[in-house]
Amino acid sequence: MYRRSKLLLLAIFLGVPAMAPAQAPAATAASQAPATQAQIAALQQAVQQAQSAGDNAWMLVSAALVLLMTGPGLALFYGGLVRRKNILGTMMQSFAMMGLVTVIWAIAGYSLAFGHGNWFIGGFEHVFLRGVGLTPNPDYAATIPEQTYMVYQLMFAIITPALITGAFAERMKFSAMAVFLGLWSLLVYSPMAHMVWGVGGLLNASGGHFPSLDFAGGTVVHVTSGVSALVTCIYLGKRVGYPHNNFPPHSMVLSFIGACLLWVGWFGFNAGSALGASSLATSAFVNTHFAAAAAALGWTVAEWIHNGKPTALGAISGAVAGLVAITPASGFVQPFSALLIGLVAGIFCSFMVFAVKSRLGYDDSLDAFGVHGAGGTLGALLTGLFAASVINPIFKDAAGNALPSGAIDGHWGQLLNQGAGVGIAWVLSIAGTLVLLFAVDKAIGLRVSPEHESEGLDLSQHGEEGYDLNS
């Protein structure tokens, strides 16, 4: 009996490897039936298609969420903050970006951002979206059609110039705004996007000269728009009557709704930057929400202490500040780092808006610089501090092992790279914006006349009234 069971064991030992061809197809290819090979290939393709289906579904939803952030998110947020006579003018500025930047992006913007070029700018291989079809572009996102990637990135290109409109609210000509921001999209946005995310970009995390960690656009979107906003509001000058007269929001209700749409839409902005329905998207989603919440609390408490009352405007501005700051960090940090980043951003940006703006006297009407410029800069630097390879092993050695990401991993040098990214964003924004402002001003004039400013943009620029409560 003992001998028989030994024989049985031996048979099993010899038999099992022969019965498991799926585990070592290369080694036993010669011994497999072609039918099994075909079945395996079909299964592999089905798995890949399932992966792509999940990724593409999330990416298309994310693209829609990011567009929602512009229209109506930003349109409402900014619209509620201006005087009633300027509500339509303000909303039209965001809406115009939805139309104009789309066309510019399709013609040349995408190619200049994501085509192959040099360290500074892409190329012309994709002008008129040539070559951008439904198969994936493995340079950027290997599991989704390139058109998904292109249209997702387009939504970022739309909202970035729309953010700038907050600085020059209530005083810029519609025509001049359209020309200025359309050109800005090509001269500042596309190059910055290329440098940070494009193949061969100077600041690209994978292979750039100064590998900069910017998950969803802290520098590309927020620093560029915020700094350009500051330059523009200083160039254009203050609104008539500012700061002697106070111009309180005509509808905090609209701004509140807009801010909540921004918060929800930001899940597409940050979690969608994982470019797939992955656990990295989950990380970014959680970090985004945590930062918004902590920042809203931070600004609210800071204001409560400073002024004695917590305002709704402070609370929603705090949330936005946290969302801005977490944008570059969202796919790199741990959840409690996100809470801390949000808290710091809420307090820091409130200080920028309360203390710094009034002390320096510039009329950044809707705090585009105070929240986006300052918050983006802060967030980009904090990303260098808190980026953890355990969340996202973005830096790898030649063997594919994960290297330390940020200071929290011991890689303090990353702060310098982040600084480089921020510095380049500031320089490009200042230079590009000044050139464009000067050129457009000379060509058609930027600012509305004092009479038109007094009459309001709705009537003077659009011949309409936002509210006709008597009709």
Partner: protein, 112 residues
């Protein structure tokens, strides 16, 4: 005929309307207004800066009544609107030279 104009706190509108109806006065015009007398405004916050809002919401009632009804109307308004604090409002009385009913061209006191 006299015209009575009363500038009131908005919160007193319902009480004043009821009091006038009880006094037998049915016709009136209500306007939303902003203004202030000696009453100071309130402070609001915008971006951390405190500022004073001194154009406060008010309600204005206008009625045209027979001379005999004037005192009754005024007393009805005062009774309903008075709180004793600054900001209660004011009443102005002025003579009216003509009143016309649009529907049938009635003129004079019968038009009221």
């Amino acid at each position: 005929m006299v015209k009575i104009e009363a500038v009131l706190q908005p919160s007193k509108l319902d009480a004043v309307k009821d009091a006038l109806l009880e006094a037998g006065i049915e016709g009136m015009t209500i306007l939303e207004a902003r203004g202030h007398g000696r009453q100071k405004g309130h402070t609001e916050f915008y971006r951390g800066r405190e500022y004073t809002v001194d154009l406060l919401p008010k309600v204005k009632i206008e009625l045209v009544v027979h001379d005999e009804m004037k005192e009754k109307a005024v007393q009805a308004i005062i009774g309903a609107a008075r709180t004793g604090r600054i900001g209660d409002g004011k009443i102005f009385v002025s003579p009216v030279s003509e009143a016309i009913r649009i529907r049938n061209d009635e003129r004079g006191e019968t038009a009221l």
